[in-house]
C-alpha cells in the first residue's frame, strides 16, 4: 500500500478535483482554492518521487519548498486582486469581471 503508485493516484485525484473546481466555480476565492489543490498535488508528486526514486539527496524537497513559496506569493497577489475587484464591481463572480470586453 505504501508504494509510489498509491501516492501518485492520490495526487492525480487531487489534481483532477482541483481542475474541476477551477472550471466550475464562479467565485474567485473558490477558484483560488482549486489552484491550491493543484499545487498540493504537484508537491505530493515531488516528494513521492524523491522518496521512491532512490535519489541520493533531497532535490525534490527543495523544489516543493519553492512551490510552497510560489503558492504563498500567488495567494497574496490573487487575494489583493479579488478584493480590488470586489471594491470596483461589487462582486467576486468571475463572470461579472468583463470590463475589458468591447
Amino acid at each position: 500500500m505504501d508504494s509510489l503508485q498509491s501516492y501518485l493516484v492520490i495526487a492525480a485525484l487531487l489534481f483532477s478535483m482541483g481542475i474541476y473546481g477551477v472550471i466550475t466555480r464562479k467565485n474567485a476565492v473558490a477558484i483560488l482554492m482549486g489552484i491550491e489543490l493543484i499545487l498540493n498535488s504537484a508537491n505530493i508528486n515531488f516528494i513521492a518521487f524523491n522518496r521512491f526514486g532512490g535519489m541520493e539527496n533531497l532535490d525534490g524537497h527543495v523544489f516543493s519548498i519553492f512551490v510552497i513559496v510560489l503558492a504563498a506569493a500567488e495567494a497574496a497577489v490573487a487575494l489583493a486582486i479579488v478584493i480590488n475587484l470586489f471594491k470596483n464591481i461589487g462582486s467576486v463572480d468571475v463572470d461579472d469581471a468583463d470590463l475589458l470586453k468591447g
Binding site: D2, L37, G53, L58, A80
Partner: protein, 161 residues
C-alpha cells in the same frame, strides 16, 4: 497499523478535497481545505519529509488558509445567504477532470517506474539547508526577491485609495 493510518489519511485527503470543490457554502469549502492541507502534511510524514510537513502546516494552514478565509469574509456579507458559491459548466468540468484523471491513471499504472534503494530515515533539515545554500543558492535568492516583491505589490494593490 501504519497501513491503516495511511488509508485513513489518504481517504481524508480525497474526501475533504471533494468537499472543497463541491460544497455549496464557501466557508465550508475553506474549512474543508484545512483538513486537506493537514492530511497532506500527514502524507509527507509517511514519505519521511519531516521539514516539508512542518512547512506545510506553518505556511499553508497558518498563512495561506487564513488569507483565503479573510478573502471569503471580506468579499461576502456573512448575514446574507448569497455566500453560497454557485457553480456552472458542471458537465464540461466533470468530463474534463475525469478525462485528465483517466489519462494520469493510465500513465501511472503503465509506466515501469524505477524504484531505487530505501532512503535513510534521518532528519532532512540539515540536508535541505545544505542544498539551499549551495546548489540552489541562486534560485533561493531569486525566489526571496519574488516573494518580497509579490507581498509589496499586494500590499500596494489592496490599500485604501
Amino acid at each position: 497499523m501504519a497501513e491503516n493510518l495511511f488509508l485513513v489519511i489518504a481517504a481524508l485527503v480525497i474526501a475533504s478535497a471533494f468537499w472543497v470543490v463541491f460544497s455549496p457554502n464557501l466557508i465550508h469549502s475553506a474549512v474543508s481545505l484545512l483538513f486537506t492541507l493537514f492530511s497532506t502534511a500527514g502524507l509527507y510524514i509517511f514519505l519521511y519529509a519531516d521539514f516539508i510537513a512542518a512547512t506545510q502546516v506553518v505556511i499553508y494552514v497558518g498563512g495561506i488558509l487564513v488569507l483565503i478565509i479573510f478573502g471569503v469574509m471580506l468579499t461576502n456579507s456573512i448575514d446574507t445567504p448569497s455566500i453560497a458559491a454557485s457553480s456552472k459548466n458542471q458537465f464540461i468540468g466533470g468530463v474534463g477532470a475525469f478525462t485528465i484523471f483517466v489519462i494520469q491513471a493510465a500513465v501511472i499504472f503503465n509506466t515501469p517506474w524505477h524504484i531505487g534503494a530505501e532512503q535513510s530515515r534521518d532528519s532532512t533539515v540539515a540536508n535541505i539547508g545544505y542544498l539551499l545554500l549551495n546548489e540552489y543558492l541562486l534560485p533561493f535568492e531569486i525566489i526571496s526577491i519574488l516573494l518580497l516583491s509579490a507581498l509589496m505589490g499586494s500590499a500596494l494593490l489592496s490599500r485604501r485609495n
